[in-house]
């Protein structure tokens, strides 16, 4: 295949992946803080989060496959799966590989959520927070367009979106009710057992 086309596909799909991935992180935060608006119910956030995640996998696949198949890039399949095994910028490329590995774990555990159980699913899902900055760094370090003004603009916008979302998540504290605290407060109010026998 024309190596130019493959190269454009790799770059384009990579950039779209980053944008979609950024949206997924933001929507994930919005799900966990139970955000809603008058015309936007909570379930919609959860469902769009999942749809975009699956869509980003498609673009990620295009990005990886076109890069490996491109004879000019001289990457083997191994370097797409095993981090830091490539000959071209092994460190920056490797970050991308780690990011993909983490993402695959998140996707697989999410699809098999009922089987793996909540605790495992949650632990792996938190890995997604690490996956995103790795993907961003991979783009900046190994991306062909990294120094272009428009690409810097895109990177900045994505960083802004994720930092805002993470800050929101941290400020929201425990989105779910702290049931033990509520019960403990009652306990403090009245510790006497009514009618208890000595």
């Amino acid at each position: 295949m024309n190596t130019q086309i493959l190269w454009f596909a790799t770059r384009g799909a990579g950039i779209v992946s980053l944008l979609l991935f950024t949206a997924v992180v933001v929507l994930g935060v919005m799900t966990s803080v139970r955000w809603q608006a008058r015309q936007w119910p909570r379930f919609l956030t959860a469902e769009v989060h999942r749809s975009i995640a699956l869509l980003s996998v498609v673009f990620l696949a295009i990005h990886v496959v076109t890069a490996v198949v491109d004879p000019y890039a001289s990457l083997g399949w191994i370097s797409a799966i095993v981090p830091f095994a490539s000959s071209y910028r092994p460190f920056w490329l490797g970050l991308g590989v780690v990011s993909v590995d983490l993402l695959v774990a998140v996707i697989v555990t999410s699809l098999l959520r009922a089987r793996v159980g909540r605790r495992v699913w949650r632990a792996v899902h938190w890995a997604a927070y690490a996956s995103w900055p790795l993907a961003l760094a991979h783009g900046i370090g190994a991306g062909s367009d990294a120094s272009a003004a428009w690409m810097i603009g895109i990177d900045a916008a994505c960083i802004f979106a994720v930092v805002t979302a993470v800050t929101w998540r941290l400020l929201a504290g425990r989105p779910s009710a702290d049931l033990p605290a509520v019960v403990a407060a009652i306990g403090r109010g009245s510790s006497r057992e009514p009618g208890a026998l000595r």
Partner: protein, 84 residues
């Protein structure tokens, strides 16, 4: 074969998405936790019920084949006339 909805009240964290997707059978109480209408799900609502089960972020909702709607055995009470 009728299905029933079964909620794990320990897992449930009051996200309330199930009530948004199946308002015919699920409402929210004063504190945002789901109140599920008992009994088998009408056929026309089965797809909506499956969607509600899928969306729950904590997997608290489940579809189960009736009649095994599993709850602890009922406890007889000493409540007087008009009991509960």
């Amino acid at each position: 074969m009728a299905d029933v909805l079964r909620l794990d009240p320990i897992r449930c964290d009051g996200y309330g998405m199930c009530a948004e997707l199946l308002p015919e059978l699920i409402t929210l109480d004063d504190w945002g936790y789901p109140v599920i209408a008992p009994g088998p799900i009408p056929d026309r609502l089965l797809d909506h019920a499956r969607r509600a089960v899928d969306v729950c972020p904590v997997l608290a909702l489940r579809l189960q084949a009736a009649p095994a709607a599993r709850r602890p055995a009922p406890v007889p009470t000493a409540a007087g006339a008009g009991g509960r």
